[in-house]
Symmetry: C2
Subunit: 586 residues, 2 copies
Amino acid sequence: MYRNRTCGELTMSHVGQEVLLSGWVQRQRIMGGMTFIDLRDRYGITQLVFNMETDAALCEKANNLGREFVIQVSGKVAERINKNKNIPTGDIEIIVSSLTILNESEVPPFLIESDTDGSEELRLTYRYLDIRRPELRDRLVKRALIIRAVREYLDSKDFLEVETPNLIKSTPEGARDFLVPSRLVHGSFYALPQSPQILKQLLMVAGMDRYYQIVKCFRDEDFRGDRQPEFSQIDCEMSFVHQEDIFETFGGMVQHVFKKILNYELSEIPRLKYDDALRLYGSDKPDLRFACPIVELNATLPKSEFGVFNNAIAGGGLVAGLNAKGCATYTRKQFDELTEFVKASHRGLGGLVNIRFNEDGTVKSSVDKFYTEEQLREIGQAFGAEKGDLLLIAADKTSKVRKSLGDLRLELAKRNNWIKPGTWSVLWVVDFPLFEKDEESGEITFAHHPFCSPHPEDLQYFDTEPTRVRAQTYDMVMNGNEILSGSIRIHQRDIQEKVFKNLGLSEEEREKKFGFLLTAFKYGAPPHGGCAFGLDRLVMLMAGGETIRDVIAFPKTSGGRDLMMDAPTPVEKKQLDELGIALNNE
Amino acid sequence: MYRNRTCGELTMSHVGQEVLLSGWVQRQRIMGGMTFIDLRDRYGITQLVFNMETDAALCEKANNLGREFVIQVSGKVAERINKNKNIPTGDIEIIVSSLTILNESEVPPFLIESDTDGSEELRLTYRYLDIRRPELRDRLVKRALIIRAVREYLDSKDFLEVETPNLIKSTPEGARDFLVPSRLVHGSFYALPQSPQILKQLLMVAGMDRYYQIVKCFRDEDFRGDRQPEFSQIDCEMSFVHQEDIFETFGGMVQHVFKKILNYELSEIPRLKYDDALRLYGSDKPDLRFACPIVELNATLPKSEFGVFNNAIAGGGLVAGLNAKGCATYTRKQFDELTEFVKASHRGLGGLVNIRFNEDGTVKSSVDKFYTEEQLREIGQAFGAEKGDLLLIAADKTSKVRKSLGDLRLELAKRNNWIKPGTWSVLWVVDFPLFEKDEESGEITFAHHPFCSPHPEDLQYFDTEPTRVRAQTYDMVMNGNEILSGSIRIHQRDIQEKVFKNLGLSEEEREKKFGFLLTAFKYGAPPHGGCAFGLDRLVMLMAGGETIRDVIAFPKTSGGRDLMMDAPTPVEKKQLDELGIALNNE
């Protein structure tokens, strides 16, 4: 036996007991004739004591231990004189009577402490050492507990876990497939699933009624932002449901998980229409931990000769702004920074108009030439402006104004600490459009994926005004992150064909890519719908971390490399020959 | 709302209630003025009743339904006159007051009944229809429940679920890797994991202490027998354990799952040494639901001139046999069939000697020329032979005799129905050899995998007699199937290097393939061990089915094809170009 207790469980109630512990040497302090060692395992840290007077040989052995040595000790639990209130085992220590070195350790390449000195690259290379640090360890533990709570809830609701295959057919759904060459059929390839979307729909056709799976998905995309080539989804599907059933079920799930993991009572999850989200917050994933909505001014602007505003309105654009509460004292430099922020190329505004409601009761603006103080106050009313407030107003094409003000809103919150730690904003965004028109090519594409069901009452616009058709599609947004996306699916073959047609798929393409789904819909497909949670992001929000790499045991870099294993790598020519493929000469 | 009840829950206690049900039309009987429909969902079948007298239009609508139509009905629960004791809802029926057709169905390509008329190929093509059949549905449900019970147990023992990556480094461990070309690094490849073996060991180095994952594994092997290119493992690893801890933990897990799923009390799981398993049952995965051990005769054979026996012994071979209880009356034809069985090329015996202990007290044999009746009786004693028994004896090289008699033992059990349905044989097979010598090349290879720890007391033979070194390796065998394999792992860098050297890996190969593991072992790797259950096989044994395809939602054929999706398939040249690969001209 290596141990009969862990390093996280001994307290005053164990004083006097003989125990056997195993773990890693976290820290060692040699003080006069005494040596103290912090012994660490997954469960915690326990202090070991060695005394030169009692057993010089044993104490000498302890003195010679290095950081991260793996040791086994037996000894007696004793009350500590200097208690450590910061850890659960801080009341006790172990008077060690025997010590065995189970494995030695070289000096680790970085400090295995909360405050480490290792770069992320070094820590990814030695990921197994980084996981020993309490931050990463605790996040992986919390990840497991979150998954456990999710399963507990879904199991209780009669969802069945069904595993779907990873070697499937290549049917590009939007992103690029990872391909796997087939050795038995040269020239043929499997694809790794971008998601089990079609397979879970077929499970509904199969009558499985309620399905879930915590499943790896694969997308060979260029890595922008916080993406991984493989990531985990909580993938769910239900038969015989309307949107309301989905909201109830998965709202309930998030409430359950919050209660279980954070002991936080999440109230009923509010809904926001997609159109309203864009209009009020300039984003389909608004962070509502603070208010600061966008205020549209087209209808209420006082008459003036100010060309920027007038032209925007005349051109079908938008004049709108934000009320930066309490920011009237912003310096010229601060205001210039905000202007640069909205002028960045991916936002592309020409500038910002500001109106300052000073503490002394005066109102000043960057457009004093065009508006009287009276008129400025009138504009202020639309924002509920008070003394000390700063209004920031933009005018341009509607989508550009909304996007820029949406971003600016988040930037203001960051600069002003408007977000109170420990607060949560969770909401449903609903009524997405079914189709989108590409601004450049004018082509119609699907907004989510081609399996989303249109709103029955919008079917009338299907052929004439497709972009007016709303989809029965919903996202769940948490603190400004999309953590769930889903829809009621199409279950009627004729509507599914129509959608494919609207997307410009020829009959041959439809048959080749989705023939098996269209065939399945011939044989009694039930009404169904579902969703997928981005597990990595959900865990990141609940367990902490800056990127999803911080909540994945063995993540890849933003370039898709595994630095620890060193993958991907060249393989032997023999392996390629067996697969009937060769490298291109480039 | 589509329903407020399922088709599996209504009983006498609901009589009089108004209910709303949705499901599939399983069967329809039109009898005089009454129409009966069996409505099916995942949960069961409920009988619907329509009456021409009460509502002719409604009854007409019901008459026009086809098999597998998806419908919604509302109506009142009523007591049935002709109760059906075979189903939980057999006491009641629904007097339908309204009927909505949710989706129509063409006539399915095969009968969706227990006793179907569809070939396996047809049913794999329309897998979503096959899953509607109660057999497959129930197995998938049971699979989910088994997984749930497994997690419940492991969660209670502080195991943490940790997801390991699927895009890893190609380090052939015995089988062939599936490769995934990297688009970002042309000429480089990821591999799909054959198992998370090294990753879970690194999680132990990382201090995660107890890990599990129900995980897909991938092996690009030629498909022999009941194999799938992707399959599921219950993958587990523990730190600070000896073999005893593993036996207790995972023996306990199987007991828990048996109790939960089958309500079967599995007694403590016995152990059998690898050497004894081969000696007594000719197999390292013996089925002990019946006895019939192999009896070795080398030491006890009476003196005779029978060359076959004498030569085998003189050549270092084995004379051994089985007692086929009660088979003395086998006909010449039956006996010839058994002889052919052991002469099959993969067994390769020259023939079988038989000794019959007839009911009339006489003893007859195929070697009467060489042995007196007295001598035959003496041989019989070694087998505990009684009146009515048939002894079947073989002589050849030891491994051939054992293998053939092991197979023959199973064949006899099948022919004689020695295995009582509902009985279970679960055992640990222990003390496997660490290395094996290839009979043809004479090369030393590992018996399990190169990470298994040698028995400490056998380290002395490491350099001189490597095949004598036992490994701390164990299998769990259930009804003659290996369902778990595992070992205490090597955690010392020097021993791991020695094993790699014994396997003939050069320093360069060791570094290239396993360098990251060897590096990890420098930094305080704890003693650890674990195992992996073959989930598909475990479910097959517990839930029924002839092959693992019968317990997998979307399996592949023995040729690695997915007939439903039609995968693998050729892909567009553009996709290959992006990956920097081309097809070989063959």
